[in-house]
Structures are given as C-alpha cells and as structure tokens.
C-alpha cells in the first residue's frame, strides 16, 4: 500500500528533487542566488503564469489543450484597462466583468469542442487569434492604469522583512493552487475531469456528465487566463495587447514538467506548481549567468529544459527498479 502510493507519486518526488538540486547547484555557483529575495521573485514574477498553468492543467487533465490562454490574458489586461480608464468603471466591477468574460470565452470554446467534436487544439488556436485580434481592436497600444485602487493594492502585501513583501499576486497564486488541489482531488468535478481524460467514451458510458465537465474545464481555464491578466495588470499597472505571446507554451511546459501527461487523465496540481518554479529557476539562472549571448541563451534554455526532463525520467525509472 505504502509502496504503491509512493510509486505513483514518484514522478512528482523526482521533480521536486531535481528542482532542489537545480536550485542548490545554482546557489553554490552564483553569489546572491541563495536568498529570500530570489525565492520571492520566483513567486512574484510567475504568479500570473502559475494561475494560468493551473487552469491549463485542468484542461490537459481532461485530455484537451488550450492555446488561447496567452491571448485571453492579453485581451483581459486591455479590456480591464479600458474599462477602468476609458469607461470609468469601478475597479472591482471591471475585474469581475473581465473574469466573467474570460470564463465565458473559455466556456464557449469548450462548448464548440464538445458539441461539434472539433479537436481542442484547433478551436483554441482559433480562440487564440480571436482574442489577440480583439485585444488589438480594443487598443493597439499599451494602456496605463492610473487609479487609486491600483496604487493602493499593487504594492500591498505581507511584509517579510528586509523590505520584501509577499504581494497580492503570489498570494492569489498560492490560494488558487490550494483550491485547485482540493477541487482536483476531492470533488466530483475534479474526479470527472480525470475520468474524461482517462477515456472520454468510457466516462460517457459510465454516465458521467462529459459535456458539462468539459465546458466547465475550459471556462475555468479561460477564467484562469483572465485572472492571470488581472494579476499582471496589478503587477505592471497597465494593459498591453502584445502581452503573453507564447505564454501558452510556458503554461503547457509547466504542467508537463510537473508530471501531467498530455494525453490526459494523469497529473497533479502540485506538479504544475513545481513546474512553474522550475521554469522560473531556469530563467533566473540564465539571468544570473548574464553573459550568454542570445544564441547561447536559447541553446542553454533548450538544453536545461531537456536535461531537466531527462533527469526526472531517469530518477523515476531508477527508483522504480530498485
């Protein structure tokens, strides 16, 4: 029983282990790396990616994929900015509207995927163009949000000493993670997501609500992207239609590094959390290195990613054998 449990969680443990090794090695090599500030930055800078990756994990667990998250995020930052600054909406209302629209957009994609049996890849590819286009139509340039609410809340947070604060972004990220873990593991909806990902036809034959669950999953992911957008406006104080280009690949990579299988049905929310931290650590290492020219930077980030995945695989296989 115990052995079984650990063997199922093995990829996860391997991931955590490799992250620690990576962090430790970098800490030994670069001055100032081993600091509270670097760890905090990891959370601050990836909060929005984290939220989006969690939504993406739900989608991947259900056997789908969502390429539209980067564009939806960009679109919601512009929408929010223009609602607040151009229409004068109260900030909470504008945020709520953005969240609802993001979720509705995701839900609509889910509905098309389910109703017409079109591959998620394509529907969300169309969604990606649509949301990006909409963002550009809303504003072709970045919009500043200058508002008392933002001034007050963007720097608000738990003081950690040494002038460091655990700001709203990381807080939201961590709470979303906690909720996602409970939902994925402990609720019917969460288990249905795993079921659909395991085998859609079986899930349907077992009488599970396939359609509703699928639509909800994409709505969740769309909502997550919108929330990510909101967090990014809080962190940056602006909306920008070009933000989040290629973000979908980062979100997918985070989920996969965390052990979520792209064919669906297997994976963990904590894994995605680790995946986000790993991507962040890799980037931080490259920034600390700071002497790579762009060509080597790309080779190195590809190499680090590959090395990480290989190491994770080797550890998982080794420990299964012994």
């Amino acid at each position: 029983m115990n052995r079984l449990f650990s063997s199922r969680l093995l990829p996860l443990l391997a991931t955590a282990l490799v992250l620690l090794v990576l962090f430790g090695a970098a800490g030994a090599h670069y001055e100032h790396f081993f600091s509270a500030r670097v760890v905090l930055n990891l959370f601050k800078d990836r909060a929005f990616l984290g939220v989006i990756a969690i939504g993406m994990t739900f989608v991947i667990l259900s056997g789908g994929i969502d390429l539209s998250v980067g564009s939806v995020m960009a679109c919601s930052t512009v929408l929010l900015a223009s609602l607040i600054m151009e229409r004068g909406w109260p900030v909470p209302l504008a945020m709520a509207a953005t969240l609802v629209l993001g979720a509705a957009f995701g839900g609509a994609q889910g509905w098309i995927i389910h109703r017409y049996g079109i591959p998620a890849f394509l529907v969300t590819l169309a969604g990606m163009f649509l949301a990006r286009g909409t963002a550009f139509i809303l504003s072709s340039r970045s919009l500043e949000i200058r508002h008392a609410f933002y001034a007050k809340n963007s720097a608000w947070g738990l003081p950690l000493g040494e002038g460091l604060t655990f700001t709203l972004g990381p807080m939201v990220f961590v709470s979303v993670l906690a909720v996602a873990m409970v939902v994925a593991h402990g609720t019917r909806f969460g288990r249905n997501v795993y079921a659909i990902g395991g085998s859609e036809s079986s899930a349907a034959l077992m009488g599970l609500p396939v359609g509703g669950t699928r639509i909800a999953v994409y709505a969740l992911c769309g909502g997550g992207a919108a929330l990510g957008g909101i967090l990014s406006t809080l962190a940056l104080g602006s909306g920008d239609p070009t933000r989040g280009m290629g973000l979908e690949l980062d979100a997918i990579a985070a989920a996969v590094i965390g052990g979520t299988v792209l064919t669906g049905g297997r994976g963990w929310m904590v894994g995605t959390f680790l995946g986000v931290l790993i991507l962040g650590t890799i980037k931080t290492i490259l920034d600390f290195e700071g002497s790579l020219d762009p060509a080597w930077l790309r080779l190195a980030s590809g190499g680090l990613l590959l090395g990480f995945i290989l190491m994770q695989k080797v550890i998982a296989i080794r420990s299964r054998e012994t």
């Binding site: 600091s35 601050k44 072709s140 970045s142 963007s154 002038g163 104080g237 933000r243 290629g246 700071g290």
Partner: protein, 308 residues
C-alpha cells in the same frame, strides 16, 4: 533551509565579483539586426570600461524583462540599463530598483511613469518624429502627389504604432497623397516582400511610393518591385526607417530613396550617463537622439561611418 541572505542592494562599490563594477542590461529581444547592433554596442562599451555586464534577452516578453530586473536587483548590480518593450507597466519594478538604490538608465524608448525620479535618464529616439520626417521627405520627393503603400511593423509594437502615427500626421497636410494600403510586414524582409508582391497585383501602377517602418521590409519590397518589373528608387519612391548599413548600400545603388536614422549605438551614452549618476551628478531626464535622414545626397559619404 535557505541560507540567511546578505542584505542585497549595492553595498558601496564592493558588491559583484571582486570589486568589479556590475551593470545589468535588460534587452527586449534579439530578433532584428537593429537590436543586435544596440546590444553589441552596449556590450562593447561595457568591455571597454572594464564593467561586468549582466545581459538578459527577454525574447520579446515584458514579464521576462521585469523578472530579469528583479534578478539584477537581487544580484546587487550598480546600475541597470533597460530597453523597455512598451511604455507602460514599469512603475513597480522601477520603484523596487529605486528602493535598492540602483539607478536605471532607459534606452531607445521611454516609459510612462508619474514620478520621473524613478529613472535616471532616458536616451531615446522619437519614433513619432521619425515617422513624420519620413513622411515629409516622401511628400516632398513625390511633389505632394502619390499612391503609397505603408508596410507596418509588428502589430501592436511601440515603433510600429508611433511610426504610423508620425507618418499619418505628416500625410494630413497632403491630401493628394493616398495611402493605398497599409499592411503589416512584421518588420521582416520576407513578409515585406510577400505583402508587396500581393499589393502590386491589386494596385499595380497606382503605386508610386512605399513607406516601410524598417529597412528590412523596404528591402523586401524592393525585391518584389523588381520582380514585378518596376524600378524601385526611380518610378517608385521607397523610404524607410533605421539607417542600417544595407539600407545605405541600397541608397547608393539607387534602389532605396531615403532612410531615417534611428541610432542603435547607445552604449557610450548609456554608460556615460550611468557613471554620472553614480558619481551623484545631476542629469537631464531626456537625452534625445538626433535622428538624421539620409538620401542619395548624403548616403554615400556617410556609408563608411556606419558600424552596423
């Protein structure tokens, strides 16, 4: 289990490796020759001054630029050079830098912040002015009457927005100049050629001028014009922005009519400014690059001076 960290931020001139000065440079990307020239210039200047440069290539993402700046702050660099991707969104990170007493020098475009003490100075080109300059020159060259194709840069990018704005402002006073079509060539030579190829079939002889947001797209357009049997530089006026070396060559060959310089060699100015701030000297908030226009009258003479 993290080791207690030292208070970060610049601890006199001693932080970094072995008393060497460390400066961070956050670059937007490496996706075009102009930007590569800028990066090279800053790297070369750092090497010349014996400064260790922490270079970060954000691959086109503002978020990556911000996290790079956070890493710089965590490393306790003495100064940061930032080439901001867009105008907005820098308030928080600039404040973090200021709190850590690290001066930030902005290069090639500005930021929108309420409190201009957040950065030391801005060494910038004025994209709107570039667009206007190109427009005015084109209007003069065509005698106030033309059918123009505008090749825009990457949709939503600051230079594309501003160069379009500046150009259209110039056109406002020339009612007989018609912008026949305005399409994005994504700042790429290949897309510039593809778009031009297509538009030539639609507008044909009505096209008498091309305005491209960068030199690359202009070269692509010239190739398309030639393939269609037109004579760029002669029966079609081609104007672009950036002033890259190859654009000068094209002017000398008579295929490109003019290019507005947008100087990427900011290294020397940037580091000079940084030195001044670190010494505690006051600096003007804006050091505008005087961008010049080159056409057949002065391109050949200038060509040997071009380093990029």
């Amino acid at each position: 289990s993290l080791a207690a960290c030292q208070p970060s931020g610049p601890s006199g001139g001693g932080a970094g490796s072995g008393g060497k000065r460390v400066v961070g440079f956050s670059q937007i990307g490496a996706d075009n020759p102009w930007r590569t020239a800028e990066t090279e210039s800053i790297k070369a200047e750092a090497a010349k001054r014996g400064i260790e440069l922490k270079f970060s290539d954000a691959q086109g993402q503002q978020e990556a630029q911000i996290s790079a700046m956070r890493s710089f702050i965590a490393q306790g660099v003495q100064g940061i050079i930032l080439a901001p991707k867009v105008e907005t969104g820098w308030e928080a990170i600039l404040k973090e830098a200021k709190d850590a007493k690290i001066p930030v020098v902005l290069v090639d475009r500005g930021v929108a912040v309420a409190d201009d003490s957040l950065y030391a100075t801005l060494i910038a080109s004025d994209f709107v002015a570039e667009g206007t300059m190109a427009g005015e020159w084109l209007a003069k060259k065509c005698g106030g009457k033309a059918g123009v194709i505008q090749l825009e840069g990457t949709t939503g990018s600051a230079p594309a927005n501003d160069r379009k704005k500046g150009f259209e402002a110039a056109m406002a006073s020339h009612p007989e100049i018609k912008v026949l079509a305005s399409q994005t060539g994504d700042f790429k030579r290949s897309d510039g050629k593809n778009v031009m190829e297509a538009l030539l079939k639609v507008h044909g002889a009505a096209i008498t001028a091309v305005y491209a947001h960068n030199d690359d797209m202009a070269i692509g357009a010239i190739q398309a014009l030639e393939a269609a049997g037109r004579r760029p530089g002669k029966d079609v006026v081609v104007v672009s922005i950036d002033g890259m070396g190859f654009a000068f060559d094209a002017i000398v060959e008579g295929k490109l009519n003019a290019t507005v310089e947008c100087n990427p060699l900011l290294g020397e100015m940037a580091f000079a400014a940084l030195e001044q701030v670190l010494k505690g000297e006051a600096l003007p908030k804006l050091l505008v690059q005087k961008d010049r226009l080159f056409d057949e009258s002065n391109a050949a003479a200038e060509r040997p001076n071009r380093k990029y």
